[in-house]
């Protein structure tokens, strides 16, 4: 063999595989839906489906228990989950006075590495899958949250901000006739 097996930066390549696959998904949705709002909704829904499975993988890997409060949740999300799966560590910022709302500042967002938003798609929240994933994962931990992007570097903002708001604690439902 004249060729040697090259050592690739596998972590980087897997990241690119993920980013490209995400690009394919968004391009398919853009093709199928005229309205940006519909695309956003689909991305959120898919994110949710990913989140509810990913959280199990996260728990299996990290051996974590449940968080004691919402501050700890923010920490685990930013420093462990985002780090583990996306290889970035967002900064936690803008806590609300009641400690029920915070932002994750994504200095570099791996989802948008090769992306430029088309002009006629100004309402598209390209990374909306992240909102759904966070929502789905936390729901499995009995936390109902809302998640959205108030700022997005793809739209000309100087930072990408993912806002997460605590809504309520969920309780397990019991099967009918158990009481």
């Amino acid at each position: 063999m004249s060729k040697q097996t090259r050592a690739f930066d596998n972590k980087k390549l897997v990241g690119e595989l993920f980013t490209l696959t995400y690009g394919a998904l968004v391009s398919q949705l853009i093709k199928d839906y005229e309205k940006d709002e519909e695309v956003n909704k689909q991305l959120d829904k898919m994110g949710y489906n990913i989140g509810i499975r990913l959280v199990e993988d996260f728990m299996a890997r990290s051996n974590m228990g449940k968080c004691q409060d919402f501050r700890e949740t923010a920490d685990v999300l930013a420093k462990m989950a985002f780090k583990m799966y996306l290889n970035i560590t967002p900064t936690i910022a803008n806590w609300s006075p009641a400690n029920d709302e915070f932002s994750l500042m994504l200095d570099n967002n791996p989802l948008v590495e090769f992306v430029e938003l088309p002009e006629d798609r100004s309402k598209l929240n390209y990374s909306n899958v992240l909102c759904g994933a966070v929502r789905g994962a936390l729901e499995m931990l009995q936390l109902e949250v809302e998640a959205w992007f108030p700022r997005d570097s793809l739209k000309g903002d100087n930072v990408t901000e993912l806002r997460i708001k605590f809504i309520r604690k969920l309780t397990d439902a019991l099967p009918a006739g158990e009481d």
Partner: protein, 158 residues
């Protein structure tokens, strides 16, 4: 060694793309496969570009196939193809005895009817990688018992 976490995320995204395409009202199954395959094609092209960026040109077609079996496969699935065969007339068969995207689904015939949807994007990966290296091909996959897959590459010479 524990699997890279980003890989898990990729697989979940891959599954969402598939179930989205299959949830759409398209009456022909082949249409769904071809949508997925063409996404795979573009992704495979870009990744092969990354992988071969700083390497010299390949000597011949067989060298390229070996690259796909070793380097490309390792990068995508963290293992190499188990067996490569050719009829020396432009047909290559890549056998992976434990294909990564099937190995948690089934070992045997359960869910066999779903196998094609999980192989559409990977077929595109191979066709895209080869296209990037200057080879036009048609790539199909065959499964008799999961998780083993035979990818058949037919070189298209114009």
């Amino acid at each position: 060694m524990q699997e890279d976490a980003t890989n898990v995320l990729f697989e979940l995204l891959h599954d969402e793309l598939i179930s989205y395409v299959y949830s759409n009202d398209i009456d022909m199954k082949s249409k769904q496969i071809s949508i997925l395959e063409s996404h795979g094609f573009r992704i495979g092209q870009s990744l092969a570009e990354q992988l071969t960026k700083d390497s010299s040109r390949f000597k011949d077609e067989l060298e390229i196939m070996k690259f796909v079996c070793r380097d490309f496969w390792s990068a995508m699935y963290q293992k190499q193809v188990d067996n490569l065969r050719t009829n020396h007339q432009g047909v290559y068969v890549l056998q992976d005895n434990c294909f990564k995207l099937l190995k948690r689904i089934s070992s045997g015939k359960q869910y066999l009817e779903f196998a094609p949807r999980f192989l559409a994007i990977p077929c595109g990966f191979v066709r895209g990688a080869l296209a990037n290296l200057g080879i036009n091909s048609i790539v199909t996959a065959e499964v008799i018992s999961m998780p083993a897959v035979k990818f058949q590459i037919m070189i298209q010479r114009v």
